[in-house]
């Protein structure tokens, strides 16, 4: 189940500034082979054992990964937290929605591929499945926002 929250909340269990959280916390954790492969997939970056990276833009450290890649790693490393995905491109969102048992914050819909069997729960209440369920929920949400003049 992927939990989506659509209203922003200030809480220690939420990660809203992904770059900051990654630079201070996640980057200091051990990276698994799966996470090294995710870094390669998203940023085309090769991570060395001492956490330097090599990308087409040059050499750097793990803190030079893209915001989208940092967000993805924050989610993978901290599945208990609600992570803001508003800065993620479609390439990262596609990977996120192939995962399970994660919690994300998004205030609006984005166009990207969602697996047909992905189970998504909005705001702890509405459960939908796949791309069509996701799009239908957002259509109704926008009707609601329009009626409420939001």
């Amino acid at each position: 189940m992927i939990d989506i929250y659509t209203e922003k909340k200030d809480s220690k269990d939420w990660i809203l500034k992904n770059d900051l959280y990654f630079n201070l916390n996640t980057c200091n954790e051990e990276m698994s082979q799966n996470e090294i492969e995710l870094i390669q997939q998203v940023d085309e970056a090769k991570l060395t054992p001492d956490k330097h990276i090599e990308t087409k833009y040059g050499l750097g450290t793990i803190r030079n990964l893209s915001s989208g890649c940092k967000t993805l790693l924050n989610i993978v490393k901290h599945p208990d937290k609600v992570v803001c995905v508003e800065e993620c491109g479609p390439n990262v969102l596609k990977i996120i929605f192939e995962m399970d048992n994660i919690k994300v914050y998004m205030s609006r819909p984005t166009l990207f591929e969602i697996p047909d069997d992905a189970e998504i729960r909005f705001n702890d209440t509405d459960v939908v499945t796949g791309n069509s369920g996701y799009n239908t929920w957002w259509s109704r949400e926008y009707e609601r926002r329009e009626m409420d003049d939001l």
């Binding site: 087409k56 491109g89 990262v92 609006r108």
Partner: protein, 139 residues
């Protein structure tokens, strides 16, 4: 010229070996989106140096590390404003400022265009081809 939008820079061109940047702007507000990992923050970091040159001194940069972002932003006049991490930084107040402070030009690394007076020429992605980096229309 009547009807023509005020632009601080129609283009920003520079070399940052091994890359050459050739950024052309078609609107007063440019939103740079696309996939993650396409070099938006890399460009932002290069602009930190470029803005120190006489030619590009109108560039003002903001990201999640900027102090007093809202106040500093609202003081900008006749600037080319670049905001990285814009999706988590700008609120309705700033969107209104961007819409109505016509003396500035804006390049926003932003996906959510709600409440912004954008045109179909506003939406761009960074494209890297043969070490040449350009802004292309987002399809």
């Amino acid at each position: 010229m009547k009807g023509e939008k005020w632009m601080i820079y129609k283009n920003i061109t520079f070399k940052a070996d091994p890359f050459s940047y050739d950024l052309v702007f078609d609107d007063r507000i440019t939103l740079v989106g696309g996939d993650s990992g396409t070099g938006k923050t890399v460009l932002y970091e290069i602009l930190e140096d470029l803005r120190l040159t006489n030619e590009y001194k109108a560039i003002k940069l903001f990201n999640y590390k900027s102090d007093e972002f809202l106040e500093a932003m609202k003081r900008c006049r006749n600037n080319f404003i670049v905001i990285d991490n814009a999706d988590i930084l700008i609120n309705d107040d700033i969107r209104t400022f961007i819409n109505f402070e016509f003396s500035n030009q804006y390049m926003l690394f932003l996906r959510n265009c709600d409440g912004l007076n954008v045109s179909d020429k506003s939406f761009k992605v960074l494209k890297l081809d043969n070490n040449r980096i350009t802004l292309e229309e987002e399809l």
